[in-house]
C-alpha cells in the first residue's frame, strides 16, 4: 500500500517578476496557479513524461478537474519561491497532487498550500482514460 505522505516532494524554483504582481504590491492570486503548473510540468518532465508528444502524437492530455489553495503569506516582486508537488492520491481515473509554495526554501515562509486533482483525457473525445499506475514511478524510461 502506497504511503504518499512519506514521498519526498518535487521542488521547482520560481522567480517573481512584475508580470506576476498586482497593484496591491503582491503576487496576484491567480498567478500562484501558474507557478503550481510550472512545478507539475517540470515534475512530469523529470519523470520522463513528454506532454507535447502526448498531446500531438498520442492525443492524450492531462486536465485539472479541481483545485484548492489557501493563501497564507503573500509573495512579492523579486521573491525566489520554491514550489513543491507531491502525489497525494491516485485512483483509476484521477490523481491528486499536493502543492506548497515557500519563500526562499522549504525552511522559509509558507506562502500557499493546496493542490489539484487531475484526470487524463482522450484529446479528441475528451473522455477520461485510465491513469497509468507507472506514471509517477521514478524509474520509468
Amino acid at each position: 500500500m502506497t504511503d504518499f505522505a512519506n514521498t519526498k516532494p518535487f521542488e521547482w524554483p520560481v522567480r517573481v517578476y512584475y508580470e506576476d504582481t498586482d497593484a496591491q504590491g503582491v503576487v496576484y492570486y491567480a498567478n500562484y496557479f501558474r507557478f503550481m503548473e510550472r512545478a507539475r510540468t517540470e515534475w512530469l518532465r523529470a519523470l520522463g513524461v513528454n506532454q507535447e508528444q502526448m498531446l500531438h502524437e498520442e492525443r492524450r492530455m492531462f486536465v485539472v478537474t479541481k483545485t484548492e489553495l489557501e493563501f497564507v503569506v503573500a509573495a512579492r516582486f523579486n521573491d525566489e519561491l520554491i514550489v513543491t508537488a507531491r502525489l497525494s492520491g491516485l485512483s483509476r481515473a484521477t490523481f491528486d497532487i499536493e502543492q506548497k509554495i515557500y519563500r526562499g526554501s522549504l525552511d522559509g515562509t509558507l506562502c500557499c498550500r493546496g493542490g489539484i486533482r487531475a484526470a487524463l483525457l482522450n484529446a479528441d473525445t475528451l473522455r477520461p482514460l485510465r491513469v497509468p499506475a507507472s506514471l509517477f514511478e521514478e524509474n520509468q524510461s
Copy 2:
C-alpha cells in the same frame, strides 16, 4: 438569521479571448480565477464599494485567503460566459463568496463552480479588520 442560499447571485458577462486560452484549445485553468475576480469587482462596484479609494485613501484592501474551484466543462475561445457571485458566509473577519461560471446564460452549460474566502486588511499593517456587516446590503449609499 440570514439565509444566504436564497440570495439572487450577481451576474457578470465575460467574453473569452485568445489571451485566456491555451494550446489545449480551452481556457487556461488559472484564468477562471481572473474571470471570478472581475465579477467580484463589478459586484462590489454595484454595491457602491470603490476599491481604488479604499486602497489609497482608507488604506484598506480585500484579500482572498482561500479558494476552491471545480472544473466541470471547459470554456473555449469566443465563448460568452456568465460569472456569478453570491455571498455564502459572513463572519467578523472573513466572508465567503460562491461563484459559478456558465456558458451563455444561467441556463447554459455549467463550466466551473467554486468560491473564495476573503478578508479585509489594513493595507499598511496587513492586519485583519472587521468586515462591515453593511458591506453586502443592496441599499448602501
Copy 3:
C-alpha cells in the same frame, strides 16, 4: 484610392482589473497588447468575421507579424479605457491596424498609441494567404 486616415475607428471599452496591474501600481506593459487584441477581435466580430469558425472549419487564422506601442500615460486599476482600432494599411499579404488607448473617452487622456501588422495564414501549412479586400468593408454579410 482608399483614404484610411478618414476612417472612423472602431471603439471598445476595457475596464482595468487587478489582474492587469503590477506592483508599480499601473497596468503592466504587456497587458495593453491584450486590450488591443480584445478591440481587434470585437471589431472583426462587428464586421461579421467569426474567427472560431475560420480556425476550425476553414483552417485559416490571423497572426500578428509585428507590433509597436508607445506608452504615453500609465493606466491604473479601475480605469475605464477606450481602445480603438482602425485600418491604416492593406496589401495583398498583410494589413495594418492603428490602435490607441484612452482613459474614459476619445476626449480623455491618451495612454498608448501604436498598432500591429497582421497576416492571414493557412492554419495547417502556416503559409500566408491573400487578405480578402472585402474583409474590412462594413456591409459584408
Copy 4:
C-alpha cells in the same frame, strides 16, 4: 564613443508553459513581452541593480516608454527559449535595449526581434530622472 553593436548580449532561458500559449497552439503574442522583461530584470540583477530596493527605498523605477517587436517564427509549448538583451542606445533621459528570442540557443531559430526604450522615473512624481551612465557597466559593485 560607445560601439553598442559589439557588446555581447545578456542571455536568459525561458521555458514555454501552457500558461504562455493560446488556442492557436503557439505562444500568445503579448507573452513575448513578459519573456523580454524577465531577461531585462535578470540582466539588471546581474549588473547589481536591485529594482525592489530602488522602488521602495529610493522611490525610483524603470518604465518602458515604447516597444516594438517583429514576430518571425512562433514559439510553442515546451520550447526552451533564449531571450537576449543588449544596450543599443543611451541618452540622458532614456536607454534602448535590443532583444531577440531564439529557440534552443543563439544558433537556433529566431522567433522574435525587437526592443524597448526605457526611462528612469521618480516613483512619487513620475518625473524622469537622469539615467546613470554607470548603470550598464559590468563592474559596478
